[in-house]
């Protein structure tokens, strides 16, 4: 990759972040990118600096760059706390049929599980539980609420 391309990409990122900051001030500190939630509302911490959840785009089960970073931190924390097991709870938003949403919740939780496993966490420390659209964190009917609900949450099991 040549230097000018890197610079150009960097420039775009800067532009994007300026734009997002502008949005953020309007939406009282909550935001999405694409339609993946990037805010901190509803997010809890497993340990200092270790977020408990990752978010997904509509109908998607692919981990974003930010999600992978969160999961790497979770993996680091799990390696240090080798007695702790976790349940990955996969969720969908309310804009889909119940049964398909159960399947997509399971797929989201497994996407997170697979990533934790590539960072050395044994599969027998991780169980997966899909709630489909049954347990939203935000009960609103708006794209922002739905983006918070499309998530996989890592919960201590013991």
């Amino acid at each position: 990759m040549n230097l000018s391309r890197i610079l150009k990409n960097g420039f775009l990122v800067v532009l994007a972040s300026v734009f997002l900051t502008a949005c953020a001030t309007q939406k009282v500190g909550t935001k999405t990118q694409g339609d993946v939630y990037t805010g901190s509302d509803s997010v809890e911490y497993l340990a200092s600096g270790v977020k408990d959840r990752v978010f997904f785009a509509t109908n998607e089960t692919v981990l974003t760059t930010a999600s992978r970073e969160t999961l790497r931190k979770q993996a680091g924390w799990l390696r240090k706390n080798s007695k702790i097991n976790v349940v990955l709870e996969g969720h969908a938003d309310e804009r889909g049929t119940r049964e398909y949403n159960l399947a997509i919740g399971e797929r989201r939780a497994n996407a997170a599980k697979d990533y934790l496993m590539t960072y050395g966490i044994s599969s027998n420390r991780i169980s997966v539980l899909s709630y489909g659209k049954e347990r939203p964190v935000d009960s609103g009917s708006s794209p922002l609420a739905w983006s918070k609900n499309r998530r996989s949450v890592t919960v201590k099991a013991n």
Binding site: G96, R98, E99, Y100, L129, S130, E134, S139
Partner: protein, 446 residues
């Protein structure tokens, strides 16, 4: 439990096949047939006996009211106001004066009599063609008094069948999920009620999440998804005894269960490592069979009524679409090609149509298409609705519909609705609490 098969059904006279009044149910019926439901006559002694047993002052009028309500709800009939009736019930049942009924524009007349015999309820009723001045049905049956509501439903089924040429759907029940509490921690319980909303009963306590109950088309078993001990699994429940058991021994979530048309198998999804495929379990020999094997999500399976085919939901094309395959999993064909996403396919008990949920441009639709995917017809559009279930005669669909919530999370409700195959006669089905995931039983008596 509440169900007792204690119906002695016999014909007073053979049904005569005159070319009498008929109701066409294949089109949206914009002019329902005017029908007079004369209250079932009752002698004073029977009236007192029933009052003692059932705490109802006049069981004859009560049963007629059930028939009247059923006919009205069907959208095909217009029960006339009783105040205009000129003939007394007991006399009308013997020999109607057709001029009198003609005068109030009744085209059909239902009369009858209820008596208390040997601790049992005996009912006889007749359906008359007012214009032709002829009897169309004469039937009598006996049952335990506590079945009195079902007596009204059976009468309606017989009348409906005689006038439309198709089986009715009134002596049936709906199993559904009763909901309460805030959206973020909803409490859900299995519930069952008669098709008209009466005899509502809760079947679970709400300690664990329960979803998607479905009737066995041949008996009183139900299959559903329960989160008992936080392990989402398909369960089998006998609603007469309350006995239940997990279906199969799967190492992960099983969901989206449904019975085969002969009631002997359960077909469902099993999710493992992010992949959901379709499996069946034979309820007699407990043999589990894998039907699909594809890295996409395969769910919401439903058999054709002859058991030869399965329709299901898959995102193997990238998004949710409807597919049909042979019951052994071979010969998979996509059948939904319209704009938008398609889910929850359910095969009609008549075999000709598949009902589905469709999401397009932020709206949800309930629709039907032929089994080869042609002839797509959308019946109703709303903010959110899904999960259609067929009436046993394949003429009506019941489904659930959710409302939007505001930014504070207020204003949410979920209710059951029904709509005719024609797209007409959309109605909310009253339930005590919020409700979702309805499933319609077969006819309880034939």
């Amino acid at each position: 439990m509440l169900l007792r098969y204690f119906f002695l059904l016999f014909f007073l006279l053979p049904i005569k096949s005159f070319a009498l009044i008929e109701v066409d149910i294949t089109r949206g019926n914009l002019s329902p047939l005017p029908v007079a439901v004369s209250p079932l006559s009752i002698d004073e002694q029977s009236r007192k006996s029933f009052k003692k047993v059932l705490k109802k002052d006049n069981i004859g009028s009560e049963i007629s009211a059930i028939v009247e309500n059923n006919l009205k709800q069907s959208g095909l009939f217009n029960p006339l106001n009783k105040d205009a009736f000129l003939q007394k019930p007991d006399i009308a049942n013997l020999k109607p004066r057709f001029e009198d009924w003609n005068l109030i524009k009744a085209q059909a007349l239902i009369t009858g009599k209820v008596t208390f015999v040997d601790e049992k309820l005996r009912v006889e009723f007749r359906l008359w063609d007012v214009l032709a001045g002829k009897e169309m049905i004469a039937l009598a049956f006996t049952t335990v008094p506590s079945n009195w509501r079902r007596v009204g439903h059976i009468i309606t089924d017989k009348v409906y069948e005689r006038l439309t040429g198709e089986k009715g759907y009134f002596d049936t029940r709906i199993i559904y999920v009763a909901e309460e509490g805030p959206k973020t921690k909803r409490i859900k319980k299995l519930a069952i009620m008669d098709q008209d909303g009466f005899n509502n009963q809760l079947l679970t306590l709400g300690n664990e999440l329960v979803l998607t109950p479905r009737f066995n088309p041949t008996n009183q078993m139900v299959t559903y998804l329960s989160y008992f001990r936080n392990l989402p699994r398909v369960y089998l429940l006998d609603i007469e005894t309350g006995m239940q058991e997990v279906v199969g021994d799967f190492p992960g979530m099983t969901f989206a269960p449904r019975f085969s048309p002969d009631g002997k198998k359960i077909i469902m999804s099993f999710a493992e490592d992010g992949n959901s495929d379709i499996y069946t379990m034979d309820l007699e020999n407990r043999i589990v069979e894998r039907i699909t094997n594809h890295p996409s999500i395969d769910t919401s399976p439903s058999y054709s009524p002859d058991g030869k085919y399965i329709c299901f939901n898959s995102d193997r094309s990238g998004y949710q679409q409807i597919y049909v395959m042979n019951s052994n999993g071979k010969n998979v064909k996509r059948i939904s090609f319209g704009n938008g996403l398609y889910g929850t396919p359910v095969w009609s008990p008549r075999g000709d149509l598949i009902a589905f949920t469709k999401l397009h441009k932020g709206k949800f639709y309930i629709g039907v298409m032929r089994a080869d995917g042609t002839g797509e017809r959308l019946l109703t559009e709303n903010y959110y609705q899904e999960a259609p279930s067929w009436s046993p005669n394949g003429r009506v669909l019941i489904f659930y519909r959710e409302t939007k919530t505001n930014s504070k999370g207020e204003g949410f409700s979920t209710k059951l609705w029904s709509i005719d195959l024609t797209g007409y006669n959309e109605k909310m089905v009253e339930t005590k609490t919020d409700a979702s995931d309805p499933s319609w039983s077969s006819l309880l008596t034939n």
